[in-house]
Symmetry: C2
Subunit: 504 residues, 2 copies
Amino acid sequence: MTIARRPVPASLQSKIMSAEDAAALVTNGATVGMSGFTGSGYPKAVPLALAARIEAEHEKGNPFRIKIWSGASTGPELDGALAKADGIDFRLPYNSDPIARERINKGEMRYFDMHLSQVAPMAWQGFLGELDTAVIEISGITPEGDLIPSSSIGNNKTWLERADKIILELNSWQSEYLNGMHDIYYGTALPPNRVAIPLTRPDDRIGQAHFKVDPSKIVAIVETDTPDRNAPFAKPDQVALDIAGHLLEFLSHELKMGRMPKELLPLQSGVGNVTNAVLAGLLDSPFENMTAFTEVIQDGMLDMLDAGKLRMASATAFSLSPEAAERFNAEAHRYRDKLILRPQEISNHPELVRRLGCVAMNGLIEADIYGNVNSTHVMGSRIQNGIGGSGDFARNAFVSIFMTPSTAKGGAISAIVPMASHVDHINQDVQVIVTEQGLADLRGLDPKQKAEKIINTCAHPMYRDMLRDYYERAKKSSFGGHAPHDLREALSWHQRFVDTGSMK
Amino acid sequence: MTIARRPVPASLQSKIMSAEDAAALVTNGATVGMSGFTGSGYPKAVPLALAARIEAEHEKGNPFRIKIWSGASTGPELDGALAKADGIDFRLPYNSDPIARERINKGEMRYFDMHLSQVAPMAWQGFLGELDTAVIEISGITPEGDLIPSSSIGNNKTWLERADKIILELNSWQSEYLNGMHDIYYGTALPPNRVAIPLTRPDDRIGQAHFKVDPSKIVAIVETDTPDRNAPFAKPDQVALDIAGHLLEFLSHELKMGRMPKELLPLQSGVGNVTNAVLAGLLDSPFENMTAFTEVIQDGMLDMLDAGKLRMASATAFSLSPEAAERFNAEAHRYRDKLILRPQEISNHPELVRRLGCVAMNGLIEADIYGNVNSTHVMGSRIQNGIGGSGDFARNAFVSIFMTPSTAKGGAISAIVPMASHVDHINQDVQVIVTEQGLADLRGLDPKQKAEKIINTCAHPMYRDMLRDYYERAKKSSFGGHAPHDLREALSWHQRFVDTGSMK
Ligand SMILES: CC(C)(COP(=O)(O)OP(=O)(O)OC[C@H]1O[C@@H](n2cnc3c(N)ncnc32)[C@H](O)[C@@H]1OP(=O)(O)O)[C@@H](O)C(=O)NCCC(=O)NCCS
Ligand SMILES: CC(C)(COP(=O)(O)OP(=O)(O)OC[C@H]1O[C@@H](n2cnc3c(N)ncnc32)[C@H](O)[C@@H]1OP(=O)(O)O)[C@@H](O)C(=O)NCCC(=O)NCCS
């Protein structure tokens, strides 16, 4: 493979080696801090080589499994390959890889599902143990030996600081214009030495463009030229367009009531097709000069930047479809001044989310009639992805919005259920629920008012009578009358789905 | 009644009137912002007079109900009397009054159960509607017309700013040494104008000692001389002492491991007998120069101050037993420099709780085997008190600890259940669970490891086999294997209690 090489300072050139040689430096049982946040900026060569090595060891009957800490989800070359090799003993803080998901749900892989803002501080607290090795993708090395970050930051600063050994993947596929886009804040500390994070606008720069690194810890540099791998987007379907429509109407109403400025407040949006439809809808909205303070920069945000609707966006990673990634790489110089990537402890910091007053828009698996939200556990037990940053944003947002189609699996599942089979977002953190059926503004309502509004507004018509029936009977038989439940039936819809393949 | 009067500036003397006359200024349907946080600093005369008036109107067949916003719970003269008169249409953000609780659970009173840090900001956001009248207890008025706060701050600053009309209760029972103890921060704003809260140590003073008030809004001043009313404490029983013992062992271990400084980190502690036992235990601990950054100042903290173990405490209210309140009033001058009372949006601010790294210690109703905590809804539906500030602290603490006896109702209820019947604190926000049986340190564990630890360490021996039986069978029949559940049985313990009076 001939690759367009990036310069490596003379003092580090002796560390350049193959992915196989670098993977050989990782030992069985090691805890490895990987770069990567969604399909961006994760190492692409060393994990693959490590997976091959693990498979070879397993064939020889030797045990070989590692513990992986990352930013969030990564790509198939990392979580997919290592999970396939049964090489992952423990994983934090977020996963969306289907092979790893299967292993977790079979009990073959331990998974610690965390608030993304808490990963770095908890790693410093020490109870998670030591970090042996960091494997970090970068887009360059400065002549002074500082590291130019790649298309995601995640927890890389912390992994570089905490790891004993550092393996770098220097990826020349990444745009050279990333240089200068990052803002690495070096002011965090453990209590009692924490200070205020000095950021009051999404566009404030509070750190430096490059990672510091102790060169004596660098044990390998692997050169790559491999694209990031994010899922392509589907064209928004009618359901997504309807959800976006309801949401835009709500935001416009808030503007009219004087509860939202005409630049809106900084947007946070989860990933997925629905969110992308919302961003597309904002292109034609009355709002101007918007900003984003969010986890990931999505396709829709590039369009909004192009249209001059979005003034700037702050995130910890890109999460662009392959087409949008090509477009970004071809024109990175145009976007550079409008985008800031930060460590995830900053992009998701509760202090900042509350101060800035984010408009949080996230997906859900199911919501119950009282507005409690399950974002993670299908049928109460099967992990889908993880809580990710949704809790960092939902609890601290100016307004916390959850969006979902009203049904899943072709109508066999109602996204509105009597009782959530698992709770990630308590009703206090859920102010608005939107489905294609309508938008329920739950602010200031008591549980019974919420139930009526959610059933009548958000539920699919084919499930409304069933929900009303449950609710009316629960009111009669419930132990307490604040949030009435019939405990014999509260989870029966889920059980029916498990038994028959349908909640109906 | 002759009372030791507090000076009232000449310009305001015409506003002095009886509680009955003041109560007559409150209209049917009004939204009233009351002072009060636990049994401290709540108005004691006007609500009683208003309750009498409401009863009289009801007897005449006239409708009369109001909406009440407060700091947290209050005393029987307020929530109790007004609930008894069926005078409360709507209540936020927290209630622990038994008469009001009955009404809420009968569906006769709407209750909006909120994170305490969010009350003031949400009142400013506007969706809760207008505030017609504020009824605020104070301990004095300065010659310039500023208000000297009483034994709680709560949301008083916000009520004084937002209300159209202000009724003051000037209570001469409150110590004159309260003057100077308060720290009212006037730097809050709605986004996009929010700035960092400039507090980095629990003892920082960032505001002023008195409330500003627009004198033209003051419609009445009612003079009182009535004690605060908090519940007396029981002497800690063996269960409380055992819980405290386990917790102190944990904290000492964290000190030994270098994960906690010898002054500990600022303590937050919920109210109740168990907490008081923990505070008593800290008197004989190796920790020195401790601080508290918490909601309420409890009996145990006065002892710790006396013993020189506690350097200072910051809170939003006192919550002292009648004896301790007398002791405080007699010696307030000694305590004054060591105590700071702040608005609850500051005492509970997520930004500050995370920055300071509080050690959060709260009570629970039940926890499930995966570490999800129910703090509010008995049998999933009957509200006990409310979430209060527990979510502000638990999510942002350095370590979030929940404490409970392993059983309730004489053993008929297990505090450890297969599935929480309501969730207030998701497992990510619950790092340690302590019962008299033992302490489960859940940090870094996956759900199945948590289940084993919680069952083996925290559950009462008489429920352990039942829990193991559930868990083992759930592992076999569960839809997904990340956090196994058998949905047919997950809530059956609660249903059995409802049906038979026992979970056994
Ligand atoms: C909740 C979440 C899974 C929804 O994802 P999405 O892409 O918007 O929604 P989809 O409708 O495509 O659902 C994803 C999968 O969950 C399934 N699903 C959705 N709702 C379901 C339900 N109620 N019951 C069962 N399965 C359900 C879908 O069928 C789909 O499964 P498939 O891939 O096997 O077809 C996703 O938002 C998430 O992981 N959230 C938690 C983390 C987060 O919020 N991160 C961003 C915030 S910073
Ligand atoms: C959870 C909470 C109710 C526990 O209170 P506590 O005083 O420590 O504990 P107690 O054991 O005295 O329990 C209080 C009541 O709940 C009942 N209770 C406790 N656990 C129960 C259970 N699992 N099932 C049914 N009832 C239960 C008790 O029997 C008691 O009822 P009673 O007064 O009718 O006898 C209390 O901590 C609370 O309201 N927490 C939420 C708010 C909060 O945490 N505030 C402080 C943080 S800033």
